[in-house]
Subunit: 224 residues, 4 copies
DNA sequence: CATGAATGAGCATTCATTCAT
DNA sequence: TATGAATGAATGCTCATTCAT
């Protein structure tokens, strides 16, 4: 399993080059969605982009780099998406509102380009390209950790770092599987509900406990 | 993205052919671990297995089928592993014990052949081969659902099916990411602890609430 | 272009072997028609015949031999067909009747198994297998020569051997092309008419001359 | 019997690629003559052409396409040959002269590259490549039809189209068989004589009738 | 910088043929 | 004799990569 360079060869300085690079990256995404990762080749991408192979190699050392670029672009868009959403959100009253907003942002980001998302997650073997996705999740962890620390006096976990890891990993898995296997759950909004419960129960069990007790017994306290 | 045959071509009837098939599957696993999915080719596997390409093609229509066979075998072993473990476990006193046992079994199964596990999860693009893994998880869902229903009077979820899906997907994601990125957490047993909390908090928040309250305010250990 | 053995390896003596050989030859014909010459392989034929490859090789040294056997069988059937037809025909009054009968027999023979005929003529490269077909045509030449000699006092050709060659070759070409490209002509009976004219005009031009003159001028003699 | 692409993949634009394509086609012809159709493979042709397989596949999708290209080139050359010959011929006095000239042209065209001709006719199974040859013969049919119509007042056939088909098919068969089995007849000029007789007798039986009558009864030579 | 022709190693796949059972 | 597993040479074909124009 030889190490593979996934970094672009040189950054395009001129404007024309910029356009070429964009065309190539877009073409890569299209081919990835249409033909799959295995059928993706430098020649095919070059053709799809309306560019010569030679030009392609001026900017990308190979197939992996192409996919990595798509990944990068996709991850950036997701990130921006989420950041934008969080900023535009009204100043959240409660910690639950913050959590809800984060979860919604995450779900929304994945739904934005479902075909590309599926292609990336399903097809791309875990090469260097996925590093970028991990970074993205590491970012999430930081966000979550910050949120936990902000609410430290209310929450019932001791190790915020660990909790952030647990939450992000669990939610990632849940969202991925739902996106791939149960899109209906996502669409109906039920998934969001369940994720929220999962997260809050983990973080502030007593809060969920009382909430669900109320739900079940119409407002009385849970059985002792 | 052409559909790919992953089904074996014919089942060996004679004894020597059975040996051939086994040799091929084993060789595939070895190559997968050593060289990675992309570098895996029918010729290479045949050589590794000490078998002619022709023989390989007599039983497998291609690379995908080889990997699918490995997957199948691996999933079966995991399944047996877990089933065995659950049967040999002492009659669990409490629901928590059952959950603990299930989580331990799952973790243990993934740790049994870590290099192969990593190769399968990291490298194998999501081809038909992964169907088998999904089946496996569907099985888990059934187990979990049964467990939930057995404890229906104590738990605080309404839709057992949905809860099973949520739990299995979340735990799967958590275990996978931990295995790949944080093996230390797995080894130290901390992951197990966290998963247990995640699961129980989701299912019986009030229980965790009181437990963690005790923990926090210096209460005695739960379950003497 | 190595010489290839097309002769069967040994003649089946037992009855069971006879059945095996027949099954193989029939299977070859079927595969030839269905899949074409290039896709025909010993393994495939064996499977189609419900016989093991080993058995096949006991009687046929290879692909060429299989096709040769089909050819042989086909040529024999054609020959028998024609011979039978000529014998059952009423004692022909005129030479024209004989010619008509021969041409009809030839056409009928080619129409008997049109799909196999097409496959053999279109697909089979001119390997040894076609020798047999040439023999068949050589036989025709002999028949035609004999017919010419029987009518020597009436006909207007000097070299009967040469004439036989010319006639058979021309008719063969005509019949083949018509069968492949203009089956309608064959079906309508027009081809037969034209072949008859071609043959008779070549052999006894004066006869045709007067006949066609009559046709054109309603019985008067042709213009001087 | 899967349909096979015989069309070239792309036309070379640059000059050197034109050379490559020519080299490949020439090499194909050579291999076809030397080794036969079955032994012809893309790799072998590439080697013979002093070109890499990759280059070959850039212009031809496979073996069939190679042969088709040779066929095409050969048919074109034949066509030009004949056209040239007919134009350079002295303004033919009689219809017989025209027929003679056509037959001679056809025979000459086939004799020009006898080894390639034999290879193409004998070896090439009737794939799409032969379409081109059919076109060629269809062209002949048109020429013949035109000739018939020009002489309509003298000839004794009613359906010129039909007659053209019959003549061309018959002559084709005759020429092919003679070329393959009786080259002596071709060389000695006897074949030409016989074809002329066959054609004229079919078209103007009365002419041949009188001619051969003169011949037989010691009359003077025809056409002083 | 862009082009696209050329390269050739390498993978997929088939198939005639043998031979132990 | 029949079987069918095993062989491996040979073929088809692709694709990353280079380089002269």
């Amino acid at each position: 399993m030889a190490r593979i360079r996934t970094a672009p060869r040189k950054s395009p300085t001129q404007q024309r080059s910029r356009a070429t690079v964009d065309a190539i990256v877009d073409a890569t995404a299209r081919v990835l969605v249409r033909d799959g990762y295995d059928a993706l080749s430098t020649n095919r991408v070059a053709q799809e982009a309306g560019v010569s192979v030679g030009s392609l190699y001026q900017y990308f050392p190979g197939k992996e780099a192409l996919v990595a670029a798509v990944m990068e672009q996709y991850a950036s868009r997701m990130q921006e998406n989420i950041a934008g959403r969080m900023q535009n959100a009204p100043p959240a009253a409660t910690a639950e509102d913050v959590a809800t907003e984060m979860i919604r942002a995450m779900l929304a980001a994945q739904q934005a380009e479902p075909r590309l998302h599926r292609a990336l997650v399903e097809q791309v073997p875990r090469i260097g390209a996925l590093r970028r996705l991990h970074e993205l999740f590491t970012n999430y962890e930081r966000l979550v950790e910050a949120w936990l620390l902000e609410n430290i006096e209310r929450i019932e976990v001791k190790d915020a770092k660990m909790a952030a890891f647990v939450l992000v990993a669990a939610v990632e898995g849940l969202v991925n599987r739902a996106t791939l296997d149960r899109p209906d759950l996502v669409a109906s909004g039920k998934l969001e509900e369940q994720i929220l419960r999962l997260v809050l129960a983990y973080v502030v069990p007593s809060y969920v406990a009382s909430a669900s007790a109320e739900e079940r017994y119409g407002g009385q306290r849970r059985r002792g």
